[in-house]
Symmetry: C2
Subunit: 388 residues, 2 copies
């Protein structure tokens, strides 16, 4: 297997836009291509994540149209992936394999989503398709409900009084909004307080509005190439050290949702391939679709003991400057969550952190970073470990 | 790159079913797994094609649920692909790479679709999403219209009077229905005549009802493994000799739709990898979504000169027993077209042909076979070359 590097990266501003899916993705893709000091025709294959384009824009089968818009010739394979929120990360993992195996030298990978024009209620209902249609959707379960149950289970399992857990969950939102306020591409660039969260309206008890990430429009893209080529293309290549992917069925088939086995397995694969452990990770972008989700993820990835994530957070261990800074970009919570683009946007942030380009939100001296993306009820989990 | 083989294969009967997407796929998958003389737990990764499950069953993110239903453990990556009609073939190509590269030894790949409960008019309108939403869908174009235009272009370009071309197109349907009548898994197992086609109702001039393939419910699956392992698992492994994938943008960006560049490029890749040419192919399953589509595909793949495909067909060269038997399974036209499963079903037929298991529709002495799957307006094309 050859060493695989990320040369250029690109990302649109997250938030509402009038651009089409094709236009959005092309914007991010061209930034990644230009940042790699190559031309579109140097791209040998395209791997793209998109989750809800069929519903949002009546556009399925989008990969060929993206390839065409970028001017890629007809012998360029273009493939669409869908794995709910983990959509782009699945595409990245796959693109990695085509380069690592020696089949292609240079490929483009990323994700795109456009959903805000649907409005949050319809988007929430539509996106509930990512849970089990037969056993979960039919009883009216949407994702705020899934993660509300998780919060209750977590509080109960670890004997943390719900009001205490709620304050700690609020601190996730406070931290991520603080970070997002330093990210010019973030959807929300405004700090909030614990009171902002606790006074916001109830979505699914105990999750209030500010416990939930937004829907977003946006795109992100990466150019993957061999370590050798990347060193010639750019000053600071970032290497893919490890990858992992796990899967799970519906909630009733998962033994203990507070210890997501698909994520534990995925992270283990990534750590093993990279030859590092949680203690070696300098910065992490993980899947904070809801505040409780960040706490649980930080435990599944091995940063904290199970049941200790909320305390660690309260002690500032996940803040920029803390032991393991989590979501310096603002995370899904403040940077935004364009579903099919999120995994690529996480990798975008880690690449820029490892290059030391993140300005006020820079994690000093970061050498190894990790991404974590969760699709559906943890039915698709992908982890990447990147290093310089 | 390691040699990759297909061990077991599985396919459901095509046609209307009350089974769910998960149940359908599992049926085909278990046949492939059992036919490989392995257990589900020997599967290291799952690659699945599904095109319209979001609309048809409210099920996105289906890969994890399929993995769970098969009893695969949480460390098993499960990935969904979508590329319109080429959906399953894209998944197969990808799965091939993971085995060829040495990352996994044994993986499961296939596709599933369930659409008949939607009814053909709604299914046609929904599936139009696979064309360009911005420049094609909005003017009311659906796929019968796309291929009707192709028939007119073809007749005009090669100076074939439309009534003559229509009779030859009808012969595609007659041939494929004849073949389908010998396939116990086909949706239509009834022979028809040229008059059946020419007296059927007009769908999109010049395409009549029997020029069009049906929508179908169904699934197909393959177990891919290394050449070495396959030889221990089964008596007759079939090897993947070559693969290709091309892409294209909307129709207005394709120079000459009668000479689909994405398909020409994809086939060239597959031939080059396999080290064979069109003259070496003993049997082919190609994308006859409409009768004219079979004629054009047979030229793009190099079996006949451009403009000569309809004559060759009229002369019986594509019949079983002819020079290059095309669609002995009945093709999309008679076997059926469960969109996201079609590419896997084509590979299923070629594997069984190369094993000599096809009874009355067997192509005698077939050693090398080819599949061809077209997604959208040729925006995604995949070709496989298989051999024993």
């Amino acid at each position: 297997m050859r060493k695989v590097a990320i040369a250029g990266v690109g990302m649109t501003k997250f938030g509402k836009t009038d651009k089409s899916l094709v236009e959005l993705f092309t914007e991010a893709a061209m930034e990644a291509i230009n940042g790699s000091n190559i031309r579109p025709r140097d791209i040998q294959a395209l791997f793209v994540g998109n989750c809800l384009g069929d519903f949002a824009e009546g556009q399925a089968n989008i990969a060929g149209f993206l390839a065409s818009e970028l001017g890629l010739p007809p012998w360029t394979p273009a493939t669409r992936f869908e794995g709910a929120c983990a959509t782009a990360s699945v595409a990245i993992r796959d693109a990695f394999m085509w380069v690592a195996s020696g089949f292609y030298d240079t490929v483009l990978v990323g994700g795109v989503e456009k959903i805000l024009h649907m409005g949050t209620p319809l988007a929430t209902r539509t996106f509930a398709m990512a849970s089990d249609s037969k056993y979960e959707e039919f009883c009216g379960l949407t994702f705020p409900g899934v993660f509300a149950m998780l919060a209750h289970m977590y509080a109960h399992k670890y004997g943390i009084p719900l009001p205490v857990l709620k304050e700690r969950m609020a601190l996730v939102a406070v931290k991520n909004h603080k970070n997002g306020a330093m990210n010019p591409l973030a959807q929300f660039q405004k700090e909030i307080t614990v009171d902002t969260v606790l006074n916001s309206f109830m979505v699914a008890d105990p999750l209030q509005l500010f416990d939930c990430c937004p829907f977003s429009d946006g795109a992100a893209a990466l150019v993957l190439t061999t370590g050798e080529k990347a060193a010639k293309m750019v000053d600071k290549p970032v290497y893919i050290l490890g990858i992992g992917q796990g899967s799970a069925g519906s909630l009733i088939r998962q033994k203990d949702y507070t210890v997501m086995q698909s994520r534990v397995a995925s992270a283990r694969q990534a750590y093993r391939m990279a030859g590092v452990g949680p203690e070696d990770i300098d910065v992490c972008e993980l899947h904070d679709c809801f505040t409780i989700a960040e706490i649980v993820a930080s435990e599944c990835l091995g940063f904290f003991e199970f049941g200790k994530g909320s305390e660690a957070l309260e002690n500032g261990e996940t803040a920029i400057g803390g032991r393991i800074p989590i979501n310096p970009s603002g995370g899904l919570k403040a940077k935004g969550h364009p579903i099919g683009a999120t995994g690529a946007a996480q990798a975008y942030e880690i690449v820029r952190q490892l290059r030391g380009e993140c300005g006020r939100r820079q994690v000093d001296g970061a050498k190894i970073g990790m991404t974590d993306t969760l699709g559906g009820d943890a039915s698709t989990i992908v982890n990447l470990i990147l290093g310089v």
